[in-house]
């Protein structure tokens, strides 16, 4: 009888450990679903999205308006104004790294959520991505010029027609 109880206890411990180590971030950190995030982004005061998947992933496509926070929480210095923040983690993110990001951002005054399922879930939910652009055309450079007039008589509409 005692052996049977011991087995049951060990199984219970095993299940708990499996749950903790399964990467189910919702068990430890606040999360937001992709659908919920879409609704948040339509609000008047949407949260900031911080992409911490690394430069290559960020440049390959991210949620529009997301900042590239780098991969090392110690290297990110927040704005200081706090507010809501949604963290876009790499797939299978390490718990310690996630903890470090949470601590870093919470200390900066942010209320932090993790995007459930990451970018894949975002895309699956119909969210759009953009390839960040950093080489903005310098005004006056060739070939792009600043319009000289306020209205160009319909020419820009040809871009869409």
């Amino acid at each position: 009888m005692q052996e049977r109880n011991l087995v049951r206890f060990l199984i219970l411990i095993g299940v708990l450990l499996a749950l903790l180590g399964s990467g189910d971030v919702s068990a430890r950190w606040p999360t937001v679903s992709a659908q919920q995030l879409r609704a948040w982004l339509d609000a008047i005061d949407p949260p900031l999205i911080l992409d911490v998947r690394g430069r290559a992933d960020y440049r390959a496509g991210t949620i529009a308006g997301a900042l590239d926070g780098g991969m090392d929480p110690r290297g990110y210095l927040a704005d200081g104004n706090g507010g809501r923040l949604v963290l876009l983690l790499p797939e299978g993110a390490d718990e310690r790294v996630t903890d470090a990001w949470f601590a870093r951002l919470a200390n900066a005054g942010h209320r932090v959520w993790i995007l459930e399922g990451g970018l894949a879930a975002w895309i699956e939910a119909g969210g759009t991505t953009e390839v960040p652009e950093f080489s903005y055309t310098r005004p006056g450079s060739v070939p792009f010029l600043i319009p000289r007039g306020l209205c160009e008589g319909g020419e820009p509409s040809q871009v869409f027609d």
């Binding site: 609000a43 949407p46 900042l67 926070g69 792009f144 600043i146 319009p147 007039g149 160009e152």
Partner: protein, 333 residues
């Protein structure tokens, strides 16, 4: 087969005439002078026996000839302000009402050889600007309720604009807002249209998030521009722009790096037009490498109405955001 397009307007004509008549009688009783109405003699109110036949004649008999007419009752040419003085006065203060008299428009119109096509939007009825019937139509009373944003589209979707296109796929549209939510707030059929030139209209319209990323390769400022407009910023035609000016100074106050970004339309003679305005909702991110000697970064967001570069004076320009951040983290060992 003979048709009577004016028949459908009969109730409208009667209504409009009733409005006019009541105003005139009211004005006469108060002794106010009105166009086409003689001031009554002192102490002389209009006798009832004179008013009744006049009412019948003006309200029900006079509109009859309009039945077989064009469908556009002659009386509709009377100024709308006769019955809607508040709305007319409010609209007259708007820039739309003077769209063909604005100095910036006239300067550009003359420079381009006075093209007639400009008036399709600036003065469709060839007045000083947009007129009542340009939006409300010419169907007569009762005027149909306007459909938004479709009624704004002929001029704010093309030519040279993407204001409406950017609105259709915006958070504001998904929240159920329309053009008037911002540009004509208030109730009671207000016509007090307001735009970016109205004092205070752009107050708080944009925010700037300034964060930093430190890496072995160097430090980078992360700037996110967000705005609350329901459409791309700037709205309006191609010459308008929002500028982001980023300046870095060293400990001695000397400028060590400077960058300017222009958000609006750009044009190329070979590649055509490129739209680069600030999209609604999500915002735009700009990364600026920090100069190794920089101790302070300043970012300024400016809204400009005039086309051309920053060297061209724009008396109406507005500073939307002006933020300075010391780079204190660089001095910490």
């Amino acid at each position: 087969m003979m048709s009577f397009p004016g028949l459908v307007n009969y109730p409208g004509i009667v209504w409009k005439r009733a409005c006019h008549l009541l105003q005139r009688v009211s004005a006469a009783r108060e002794g106010r002078p009105r166009k086409g109405l003689r001031r009554p003699s002192a102490g002389g109110n209009t006798p009832a026996y004179m008013v009744t036949p006049l009412l019948v004649a003006v309200l029900f008999i006079a509109p009859l000839p309009a039945w077989g007419g064009t469908g556009y009752p002659g009386d509709e040419t009377a100024p709308c302000g006769d019955c809607h003085p508040r709305q007319q006065a409010e609209f007259q203060r708007s820039h739309m009402a003077m769209a063909a008299r604005a100095p910036a428009f006239l300067e550009e119109w003359r420079r381009k050889g006075r093209p007639d096509t400009c008036f399709a939007c600036h003065a469709p009825s060839r007045g000083a600007g947009v007129a009542c019937t340009d939006c409300h139509g010419t169907a007569g009373h009762p005027y149909p309720r306007l459909s938004l944003p479709a009624v704004c589209a002929p001029c704010h979707d093309a030519p040279g604009e993407l204001t409406l296109r950017s609105f259709r796929d915006s958070p504001a549209a998904r929240r159920g807002e329309d053009c008037l939510s911002c540009h004509l707030p208030g109730e009671g059929f207000s016509h007090d249209f307001r735009g970016p030139k109205r004092r205070g209209f752009l107050q708080g319209i944009a925010t700037l998030t300034i964060a930093f990323r430190r890496e072995p390769a160097g430090d980078t400022a992360l700037l996110r521009i967000r705005h609350r407009a329901g459409h791309a910023l700037p709205g309006g035609t191609t010459g308008r722009a929002v500028w982001l000016l980023v300046e870095q100074r060293d400990a001695g106050g000397r400028v060590v790096a400077e960058r300017q970004y222009r958000f609006g339309w750009l044009h190329s003679s070979t590649a055509g037009w490129r739209e680069n305005s600030l999209p609604p909702g999500v915002g735009k991110v700009v990364e600026v490498p920090l100069h190794e000697a920089a101790g302070v970064i300043r970012a300024k967001l400016i809204y400009r109405f005039r086309a051309g570069g920053l060297d061209r004076a724009d008396p109406d320009q507005r500073v939307l955001v002006d933020e300075t951040r010391p780079l204190a983290f660089r001095t910490v060992p």
